[in-house]
Symmetry: C2
Subunit: 186 residues, 2 copies
Amino acid sequence: MHSSTITPIVSAKERLLASAGRLFHEHGINATGIDLVVRNAGVAKASLYNNFANKEALVVAYLEQELDGWIRNAHALDNPLSPRRERVAALFEPLARSVELNTFHGCPFTNAVIELPECAAVRTVARDYRAVVRTHLANLLGADTISTAASRLVLLYDAAITAAKVGRDAALVREASTMAQELVDA
Amino acid sequence: MHSSTITPIVSAKERLLASAGRLFHEHGINATGIDLVVRNAGVAKASLYNNFANKEALVVAYLEQELDGWIRNAHALDNPLSPRRERVAALFEPLARSVELNTFHGCPFTNAVIELPECAAVRTVARDYRAVVRTHLANLLGADTISTAASRLVLLYDAAITAAKVGRDAALVREASTMAQELVDA
DNA sequence: CACTAACTATACCGATCGGTCTGGTAATAT
DNA sequence: ATATTACCAGACCGATCGGTATAGTTAGTG
């Protein structure tokens, strides 16, 4: 097989995921109807249901895409040769910036858990995401990582996101960054 | 005037707010339809629209009620004569407990901001809430409060809530509590 | 060529949403 | 006695939701 059909330059599935990624993240999952996702993707409604069982499956695929994006972004921002405090700052500073630009729409996983509190599949991806963040932050601390320190970094990252989303306070985000930097330097 | 009508033991408005408080908080705002709120309150639908302009007004009233509740609860938990670290613990520990009991449904204000991201009135109450929390935590730090320390306590409280809601991790909530206790003791 | 597979376009479905309207009851105020 | 006020019960409305069905198009494959 390996892509037997040439089909459009990008497949309907890819267009749908791109559309869902934009709309779900910017306007929320419940506020984004299937029809809008389809129209925005420039795709037929049937193509959605050929590629995804239902809206929930699309949401899960969207979240998995976001998780993948988080990982790639975190690696792109990270320079393992830099001092630890700079590696921390590189992770937090874009958050503060997007608050200032009013482009921050919250953590996709937190948002999804709150919007669909009874959806087990959403909780699963959210759990995966949190494990990934924890691992990334632990690596950043180095081989001598104490479990407690990694937990504290996770908490500060959580805090920064809430300060950004609900508080819309870039200074508060930077204060969280400062705390995290103090932590990794200790 | 001052309560000229004796009417039912509790007014329709009170019953509606009690119903909305339970349902919005436990199942989410968007997932809770008007009809359910009305039925659960044991009240006529018209009574809802006699007391509130629309669902959004009911949501705002619900949030104002939650803010009032937060303040009263915070004062009830707080003993100004206790050491600072104990006063901090008293605020965080119930959070950890409710995670263990699986009764934690998240911060009503954060949830509302995420569920209704374009509702200005919701953002206003959320802002009020955050100001109240900050003031309470600053008082807890004492008269010699540095602004930075109060910000850090706010961040740790935000962190504990996310750890509780998304992570469902009571240990993580207690780690946030420990960080906050270290902060107020310094 | 015939076949299949992915796709588009759109009509349609039942359910549910927020909100309105009608009509009736009970108690207070004048 | 009569208005007024607060309430209840429930039919009803248009809009929108997630999801299905129909029918036709396009392009690569044996």
